[in-house]
Symmetry: none
Subunit: 208 residues, 4 copies
DNA sequence: AATGAATGAGCATTCATTCAT
DNA sequence: TATGAATGAATGCTCATTCAT
């Protein structure tokens, strides 16, 4: 009578959604079984039933949040098109993403960075990095792809951590330097021409 | 008689030290007036007296933690010596730092990344970035310096967040690509030669 | 397919076994439908189905645990043999039992002592006392047998409750004093001789 | 206005009293910060402030409960008077104590027995045993004193655990057997005369 | 200036139990 | 007959903060 009880098959998903909203609004520190239960309008016990620990809930949330930037990349036509300059496309996409509402960006980074202290999140963070790298795979070598991600992370964090603003042209230039040193995985002939002709260590090992 | 009360001028410092130990051990989430009071072996009231809020304490802690990597950079002879390759030196210094005990590295990054959600920490984070950039100033242009920092942050985070290992050669290569595109502030002629000399400082400082 | 469902006639027994392991590991306080279900690797609902209340499960567990010391007594050849000194045999058997792994001993005593607050367990506890008394019946009178049990309980508890160690010689001496005062049910003539033969069975069974 | 706040110096004692009432009424299982706070009519936080953990509260409660039987022994004139038979006096005192309201007796034993699983309580339990032994010290040797306590514990537990009734004469007889074997610490000449003339191991070592 | 005592809110988690199947 | 899902109550405990010295 009071609540639409029992048999709510999407309950789990709604809890994850609520968790994302809570983290977006109040940070990971604001995430608790109680806050998420209130946000999702489900009984407290329901959150602990579906996610035995907060870490488990965070893993699910991070996995869901991951998709956002990744999807943007995957769905970008210019990123896949060898006719477009990769650095330019990446710089623009990142600008669009980071220029959106700050909460969303903060949310994703906060979840991602939480892996620093929560080993449970690390596999998911690694997954994310691999996914993004996979988007870049058709256009450059793996090591360069990883460096591109690292640089983008670093640039975005500088913006977010120092209250700075995103400078698309600066990002384009620096991405270009990284990419120019890589070996194009497929024929990538654009205005730039073959620069730094792959002579020295094109694709180094990013990790063991 | 029981405690060496009153007039303990270094108490503030001891509290900050204790806070760093607490964060190093238990993360920012583990930092509370109580835990830090216990760690510093001072009365609970003393911590709230010297630091009205936890943010205030975090600012002091971040400021103290900042020094570590910065000092390593400042004191490195090869970094200042134009005769040494900058990318190599940076890659090696970073490797030494990150190869030390994980807690120390985690501690510094955790405090630094906390600025994402705590505006009070952002000026300190910005300060840190500027300090490191200043170390690089004699050897490259400001935009490149910032990109170097961004890349290093990104690389380190990839290691820390995905349980990966640091690959010095990979770091050297990618730092080299960024640096090669910059305009050497002083004569810096090494084996690389002037690559993509065109756009020296296309888009500079993205913040403040 | 997932689980070997339905028709598992030994399930009840397996749940009792699991309950004993749980109590041994975490104490009665650690016993819950959940913990025992996890330990027995059966569905949660299965435990509530077979044992409507935890008390019911405890009764079954206590009944099973009872057997251990009792069996040791029953199977001891020297206990039954009038040629062996009873006090010596009992002291040795007790030493062997208490000298085993502490968890097992704790487990039995914990279940036994739980009867203090759980009337449901009291008949089982009484049964146990009678069983042990029955082992002693051929060699002494009932009141003495009960006193022997009481003394043994008291001695064991002193060891367990005060982190002391079991002193077999002390136990033998005190058991000897109790037994010497009893009337030998069968001819049991040893060095002691008939001491204080006056009151054979002054005050007998204090219960049921 | 709502509550007579602040500055309640006997607060700690009142909480211990309340804890004893709670354990007496509902058993140790019924003891929680909440129940004791309600019983003592103090804020919940007050209980955790004064007793950081439940174990700490239990230690305080056991220490307080200890006094009861011990005091009865200490204050008994006949126990101290060599003219009275020790076994008779002990049996009578125990009868009085156990014949009182069952809750009180259960309470003390429950706290005492809790030491089985709570190491924190063991030193207090040991203390209690020593205190009682000290009461007996003037009239018998230490080992015998310990055995007397063990026997009394065992007898009482048999009564409590099996829903039996206390048989004073039976207790007197068995205590007498133990005591008769001991060496009177002081001249103790009563009706019994020197029985089992102290030939064999009068005072053995009860523990290390 | 400094601090011990105190407190209500909140935390993650476990639980016995109920219910629909 | 058995069981997974669900839930409200309760648990021990930590906390920032307040207040009276």
């Amino acid at each position: 009578m009071a609540r639409p009880r029992r048999h709510d098959p999407e309950r789990r998903e709604r809890i994850v959604d609520a968790a994302l909203r809570v983290v977006g609004r109040a940070g990971i520190g604001g995430l608790s079984h109680r806050t998420v239960a209130a946000e999702a309008d489900v009984p407290l016990g329901s959150t602990t039933y579906h996610f035995a620990s907060l870490d488990e809930l965070l893993v699910a949330a991070l996995r869901r949040a991951n998709d956002n930037f990744g999807r943007a990349l995957r769905e970008s036509p210019e990123l896949a098109d060898p006719g477009h300059d990769l650095a330019t496309a990446l710089a623009r996409l990142t600008g669009e993403w980071i220029g959106g509402e700050r909460t969303g960006v903060e949310l994703e980074y906060e979840l991602y960075l939480a892996a620093l202290r929560r080993p449970a999140l690390r596999p998911v963070a690694a997954e994310w990095a691999e996914d993004v790298a996979a988007c870049l795979a058709p256009r450059t070598d793996p090591a360069t792809a990883r460096a591109v991600i690292a640089l983008l992370d670093g640039i975005c964090l500088q913006v977010l951590l120092t209250d700075g603003s995103y400078d698309e042209e600066y990002a384009r230039e620096m991405l270009g330097r990284i990419l120019a040193g890589g070996s194009p995985a497929t024929a990538e002939r654009s205005a730039e021409g073959p620069v730094r002709a792959s002579s020295e260590t094109p694709g180094t090992r990013p990790d063991t």
